[in-house]
């Protein structure tokens, strides 16, 4: 779980904002973009070595079935007993040529595996992000505006409760209430069997079910997909909503205390407009930055949500592959996650730069 500490960005538009310079925004984007690569490289390296010192996939799969000499023979055949550096450079070489390999434990091309599960996780992330934004931002505004009054206290309590409840516990409670006891919503999965079949028969599916359903005009399926999406999105969304609420509140309170808000007030601008416009837009810059970091939190939470709701996505799959010591798959997923996080942060930086006019010149 990423941290609440991050929810704090003490200085709105602080010195961290790139300065006006001859380089301009183009250079800024380029540098930010190039920074993605070391991140990925480091993570992949880290995971490679970590995975390899913990054992091999063959033992994981067949350990209880074969005598040790046969296991050793198979391990030798697969080349897992060669010096680890040799394997490492070989692996780097493969990646460099775009060959990500085939998973060891369930024999899927890594790229295809990532496409399948990545889109599922993406869908979950989008759904819960929508929930988080819809809940977190307006409530955060209310809390900041009514600070230190009862609504603020209640909202902050709510925010902390959201954060304090482990996703899987929240998911379990939601499931027991809304699916088992009340029977309003399905228990688990991304869609019911018939919808899944309909989805798998589409010609060029995007993998994001609701998008596919809309594109194929299958509105019955869309309803089914929506029903399935509610609980996981709420479970994961609430966790993030708590952080967003706090984030919006803190930063809004920060900007609400700025002279320019006071200046707006001194000109007779209404309190509502001060909160939603004058203070909110500058507050948005750190908010967006930290929200980017929340992507990491969301992906972490996704593991737990996916498990609880049978949502076949990257997070859950990663836990499975780890157990199977399927390092090819694990490295593939780690790389994708790293790319997602890095790209998100990149996009967020760009977004923040767009909002902050000082970066543009």
């Amino acid at each position: 779980m990423a941290t609440l500490i991050e929810a704090e960005t003490p200085d709105v538009l602080g010195p961290a904002a790139p300065k006006r310079g001859t380089g301009g925004v183009g250079r800024y984007i380029l540098v930010r973009f190039l920074l993605i690569f070391p991140t990925i490289f480091i993570l992949v390296t880290l995971v490679f070595f970590l995975m390899r010192i913990t054992g091999d996939p063959i033992t994981a799969a067949l350990g209880g079935r074969l005598p040790q000499d046969q296991l050793d023979a198979r391990i030798h055949e697969a080349g897992y007993d060669r010096p680890i550096l040799v394997q490492y450079f070989e692996y780097l070489g493969q990646i460099a040529t775009g060959n990500f390999g085939t998973t060891l434990s369930d024999r899927r091309p890594v790229v295809e595996m990532l496409a399948t599960f990545g889109t599922a996780t993406l869908e979950l992330a989008i759904n819960s992000l929508v929930v988080a934004l819809l809940i977190g931002i307006p409530l955060g505004m209310i809390a900041a505006h009514r600070r230190d009054r009862t609504p603020d206290a209640l909202l902050r309590f709510f925010a902390i409760l959201c954060y304090a409840t482990p996703v899987f516990f929240a998911g379990l409670l939601l499931k027991l209430t809304f699916s088992v006891a009340l029977g309003w919503l399905p228990v688990s999965g991304r869609a019911s069997t018939s919808t899944e079949l309909a989805m798998s028969q589409l010609a060029a599916p995007s993998g994001i079910y609701w998008l596919d359903a809309i594109r194929s005009g299958n509105y019955q399926a869309l309803g089914d997909i929506a029903a399935h999406a509610v609980l996981p999105a709420v479970a994961l969304g609430l966790l993030t909503a708590g952080v967003f609420l706090r984030l919006v509140r803190t930063n809004l309170i920060g900007t609400l205390g700025k002279d320019y808000v006071e200046a707006g007030r001194s000109r007779g601008v209404s309190e509502f407009r001060l909160v939603t416009k004058h203070a909110y837009k500058p507050a948005l810059i750190p908010i967006i930055t930290v929200m980017g970091l929340q992507i990491a939190l969301m992906l972490g939470g996704a593991v737990l949500t996916e498990t609880t709701f049978e949502w076949k996505g990257l997070g859950y799959q990663l836990a499975q592959y780890l157990t199977a010591r399927d390092f090819v798959a694990v490295q593939g997923i780690v790389m994708l996650l790293a790319v997602i996080v890095a790209v998100t942060n990149f996009v967020v930086d760009i977004l923040a730069a767009v909002i902050d006019p000082r970066v543009r010149y």
């Binding site: 310079g21 000109r267 010149y361």
Partner: protein
């Protein structure tokens, strides 16, 4: 909710009635440490077309009074009394009415233009926001019309090409322009009254002169009344018709500007006026015809000194100091003046090894600072003292004053604890602080006391050279006067050489034997202090001196006339 202590309203007023009438205003803040009575009993009024100045030392309640006028006090404040604007008592009106009053009947100009403007909206939008917040003749103003009016307001305050600049973001404007925008926003709805809280404090003197001129023009052209809050007596002398002196939340004296400066009645006012440095009076180089103290060794020698800060991400660097040559000899006080950003601090810091020299030559005690090594320079450090601008920030909040003062001793002379304590007491005494203050923490001292302690620390090792970077600019005038006096005495007693940095010409003149004027990293002029102040040879120096208002309305009026051409207003 309010108990109005004063009369609530005495009906419609005649034409000569004051635009603002404050009666028995009282404001109290709740704080962690208990209630703060910021304003105790203030009554004043402002007539149409009048500039009323409120002066007083820091914390005397000026800003709080100003904010009360617009109903801008924070929630922790409780206020009573009446503040009447066009028949409305700001203290007791409903929030909706208050919002209508703000901007339409009374507007505010803030101290720091860069923080008073929202960095993510265009200046035009920000001015238009104020316009659109008020219905005119019962209908809302369209965005387009508001923008047109904003452009008009920008034109009024003398922003060139307002049609273009209306779409600029604040960071695209200079400090002076920003302050003009803030004033334009205040003017947008033609309020009868503008409250300006230290409108020029954050600006350079030359820019200050322009803004003061603008305010004067507004009053003259549109008959706008102005409440001018400032601690700068020069500004008061330049602009104010009437002056209210505040001291600890109370009004101690009220008089017309001329009367006040000519014959102050209250002791406090007298003291305040006496503490204000006055250009041309009390110069350290009074009567000197040649450079003083040239007999001794040259301690600092700069030749074509260039200091360049590297640019970020491959952008070209920034030359903060460009080809500067000067010397500082034993016993000499070298004053360095110039506007903000001209490179004064950079030079001072380079001498102390805090900034790297990138070109030319800088010799400190004969040691070449170009490409200096901390290790070889370290032994020389005990001969250099440094006094920082902000006394509060230059002490480690976790160490006692005594520990801070003893630190240089511990590093260079390794004294026994007893010796160290003794030396600390001596030092404190020499800066006229009780020895018992050694046990206090920095925040337990007042600003002036802290700056004295800072001076004591810099003197701990009997340095041969002292660098003082704006040592008094964070202090009140009265406190500043004391610290400056102390500095002068100690310098005479110890006889160290000093590089004295300040943006205040009068202060520099008071202390320095030899003065250098910096402009954009170049030393445009150097010479004997009294001569430079009296008869500057360079245009820039002339403008600088002309911009500085002197704390005497009569004299300032004359100076203003005399320099009108030079200031280009």
């Amino acid at each position: 909710m309010t108990i109005n202590l004063g009369n609530i309203s005495d009906g419609p007023r005649d034409a000569g009635a004051p635009v603002l009438d404050i009666e028995r205003l009282k404001v109290t803040f709740a704080t962690d440490a208990g209630d703060v009575h910021a304003v105790k009993d203030v009554s004043l009024d402002v007539k149409a077309g009048e500039v009323l100045a409120i002066v007083g030392e820091s914390g005397s309640g000026k800003t709080v009074t100003a904010k009360t006028i617009l109903g801008l006090l924070p929630e922790t404040a409780t206020s009573s009394g009446t503040v009447l604007i066009k028949g409305n008592n700001v203290i007791s009106v409903s929030p909706a009415t208050l919002r209508k009053i703000r901007g339409r009947d009374v507007a505010m100009v803030f101290q720091e233009p860069s923080t008073a403007l929202n960095p993510v909206f265009t200046v035009g939008w920000q001015i238009a926001e104020g316009i659109r917040a008020h219905a005119v003749d019962g209908h809302r103003i369209s965005a387009k019309e508001a923008k047109a009016r904003a452009t008009e307001a920008l034109r009024k305050v003398g922003i060139p090409d307002p049609e273009i600049r209306v779409n600029y973001y604040p960071h695209q404007l200079s400090g002076g322009q920003k302050q003009r925008v803030v004033i334009a926003a205040a003017l947008a709805l033609n309020p009868g009254l503008i409250v300006a809280d230290e409108p020029t404090t954050a600006l350079d003197v030359t820019v200050q002169a322009e803004i003061l001129q603008l305010l004067r023009d507004l009053r003259d052209k549109y008959g706008t009344s102005i409440v001018l809050i400032t601690h700068n007596m020069g500004v008061v002398a330049d602009l104010a018709d009437r002056v209210v002196v505040m001291y600890q939340g109370d009004v101690v004296e009220e008089a017309s500007a001329r009367t006040l400066f000519a014959e102050p009645k209250q002791d406090y006012t007298k003291k305040l006026l006496a503490a204000v440095p006055h250009l041309g009076r009390d110069s350290a180089s009074e009567g000197a015809t040649a450079r003083l103290h040239q007999g001794g060794k040259v301690l600092v020698e700069a030749k074509d000194l260039t200091i360049e800060f590297p640019g970020r991400l491959g952008t070209p660097g920034f030359k903060a100091v460009n080809g500067v040559s000067f010397t500082v000899s034993e016993n000499e006080v070298f004053g360095l003046v110039g506007e903000s950003g001209s490179g004064k601090s950079t030079i001072g810091r380079a001498i102390a090894g805090l900034n790297r020299v990138t070109g030319g030559s800088l010799k400190v005690f004969g040691y070449e600072m170009l490409g200096f090594k901390e290790r070889s320079f370290k032994p020389l450090r005990k001969d250099i003292g440094f006094v920082f601008q902000d006394p509060a920030a230059s002490f480690n909040p976790h160490l006692t004053v005594g520990e801070c003062i003893a630190e240089p001793l511990l590093i260079h002379t390794h004294p026994s604890p007893e010796q160290a304590r003794l030396r600390v007491s001596q030092l404190l005494e020499s800066v006229q602080l009780p020895a018992s203050y050694a046990a206090r923490y920095p925040h337990e001292l007042s600003g002036g006391q802290r700056q004295r302690a800072s001076l004591a620390r810099s003197l701990a090792l009997n340095p041969r050279l002292l660098i003082a970077d704006e040592p008094t600019s964070a202090l009140d005038v009265s406190v500043q006067a004391k610290v400056l006096e102390l500095f002068r005495d100690i310098q005479e007693e110890y006889g160290f050489a000093a590089l004295f940095i300040s943006h205040d010409l009068a202060v520099v003149d008071m202390l320095s034997h030899w003065v250098g004027v910096l402009f954009k990293g170049r030393l445009v002029e150097q010479g004997i202090g009294s001569q430079i102040m009296g008869a500057p040879s360079q245009d820039y120096t002339k403008r600088l001196i002309a911009s500085l208002p002197v704390p005497d309305p009569e004299e300032q009026a004359l100076r203003r006339e005399a320099h009108r051409a030079l200031l280009g207003t």
